[in-house]
């Protein structure tokens, strides 16, 4: 029997459009990954398989420094933003709806909507005055900036998880003599944990990948991996950069896969 319900796959040009979009999305990335294993320096010609670019990048002290700095910033930013986001998500879901709730959502998600360059310039001016006043030049500015713009990325999966949770469970815990704090620790938190981990990974990946705000906020000698790569690419494109990109890509794929496994609905 013919299924007459609407199906997008029967629209004219569906297959061609889908193939084109996938090529546009993934062909450049595929070429980059291939290039990182290419024996020659040109992306155009294959000159045999090699891991030497990875070795070269690994041995480069600038790359090492930038990587460590990126990981430190991303880890701290992920932890801080997830803590803030968890508190915000609980505060916005575990209470009666209030006037101005939508406004609060917008405030929390502000970094998703305000153009990044605006935030970057604002932070540059703001931090500059603090630098003058205190003389502090350390990584704290980058960590603070990253923590702030990562909040919505951590907030969204945590809030989704909280909203999907049966409120009766917390009522039941209270009924069984659990104080509000114990209810949170023994029931809400364990059930929320997959959401928190997912939010933390999303925040980590977002921080790891940031260029615009980092460029504006960083002091001299504070290159993260992306800003270092940008600086290198301006001079000459080396397959070493492809290799670093491939590693970053692999790391992101692993984290995002874990993210999807954790946020998947159990049915």
């Amino acid at each position: 029997m013919a299924d007459r319900s609407f199906s997008a796959s029967r629209l004219p040009g569906f297959t061609a459009t889908a193939i084109f979009v996938f090529i546009a999305l993934y062909l450049p990335i595929l070429m980059l990954v291939i290039g990182s294993f290419n024996g020659g320096e040109s992306i155009g010609a294959w000159q045999g398989f090699t891991l030497s670019w990875f070795a070269k990048a690994w041995a480069n002290d600038h790359v090492k420094d930038a990587t460590i700095r990126s990981l430190v910033i991303a880890s701290l930013a992920a932890v801080i933003s997830t803590t803030v986001a968890t508190m915000a998500a609980i505060a916005t879901t575990r209470r009666r709806p209030f006037r101005g709730q939508t406004f609060i959502y917008l405030m929390i998600n502000q970094p998703l909507m305000v153009p990044e360059i605006v935030t970057a310039v604002a932070l540059l001016i703001f931090f500059a005055s603090i630098k003058v006043a205190t003389g502090y030049q350390g990584l704290g500015y980058l960590i603070a900036a990253h923590s702030a713009f990562c909040v919505p990325f951590a907030y969204l999966p945590i809030r989704a998880r909280l909203e999907g949770m049966d409120l009766t469970l917390e009522t039941a815990a209270a009924d069984l003599y659990a104080s509000p704090w114990l209810t949170f620790r023994r029931v809400t938190l364990p059930l929320l944990l997959p959401g928190i981990i997912a939010g933390m990974m999303l925040a980590f990946v977002t921080s790891l990948d940031d260029v615009v705000i980092t460029l504006f906020v960083k002091s001299a000698g504070q290159d993260t991996l992306p800003t270092y790569m940008l600086a290198q690419v301006r001079r000459q494109i080396s397959p070493e950069i492809y290799a670093i990109s491939t590693v970053l890509l692999a790391l992101t794929i692993v984290l995002l896969t874990l993210f999807f496994i954790l946020t998947r609905k159990k049915d």
């Binding site: 039941a172 209270a174 009924d175 069984l176 003599y177 659990a178 364990p190």
Partner: protein, 356 residues
Amino acid sequence: MTTDVAVEARNAVKAFGQGETAVRALDDVSIQIRKAEFFTLLGPSGCGKTTLLRLIAGFETPTSGQILLDGKDITNDPPNKRPVNTVFQSYALFPHLSVAQNIAFGLEMLGRPRAEITKTVERMLALVKLEAMAGRKTSQLSGGQQQRVALARALAPQPKVLLLDEPLSALDYKLRKEMQLELKRLQTETGITFIFVTHDQEEALTMSDRIAVMSAGHIQQIGGPREIYTRPVNRFVADFIGETNFLSGEAGEGRVTLASGDVVQVEGAEGRKGKVTVVIRPEQVRLAEAGAAETIPATVESLVYFGTDTHCHLRLKDGTEMVARLQSPASGEAGLQQGQSVGLRFAPGAARVLED
């Protein structure tokens, strides 16, 4: 104050919303529930029964009025400070804990010693016959088993009162019947006061020591199952509990003249005058030959076979419709035909008069 009262509500009012749009889910309800009693709050959805239960559990605070437990005012105590436990309609089992950990939860929160918790959990598992399931995740259990875990979890801390919020509504018919008996057994064995909320009148009649019938935020009648069924105080109660025939008539001289012109002797007619409603249960209507002495003439409209019973729909002279429930004979044939003329009479003492 009598000492056998477990829970008392005094002029409890619960309004939701504010100003003109406020809805009074409970409107000045006062009730006393005795110790070791199986008490049922019965009514249609929106009658306030669940709201009253939530006030007793502490999930809501009354807009005005008081809730007392063992004579002590607990109106403003949070739920975790009340020696009262709840079996939720959705069971609300903790999905991240095993069956045994679910049952132990309340005892752990009370800070009981480990050895005592282990012993109590074992006893509870035996009580609800789930010894083999102790280590399972609750999601691996059937609906009936989850129900038993919810019961065991609520009973484990030995509350003074157990609240049950329509706990059987998610079960299929056979399991529900089984659980009704099971609940009654548990209540008798533990001697804990059970307050059971349901909209199912059959459930209420079979399990309860006393029933409060509620409607529109008010208590309509409180009494034992037999009292509620045989002596409903008003039309709502008579209509909500079981099936009923309502016949309008005029009272006078200790008798009632029905709209059809027939005169019947009815309990409660003495000393009444004016318009009344006569209530008679279908199973209390007896059929006889047409024209037999002291019968009301009627015509058989239709017959509906229900297995144990046959429902005979009748029409009186003036067009008033009635139902008689007849026990089906072994052959299944009631021996009646559509359109047949019959005489009907009420079983002695079965018909009652309600004020209009």
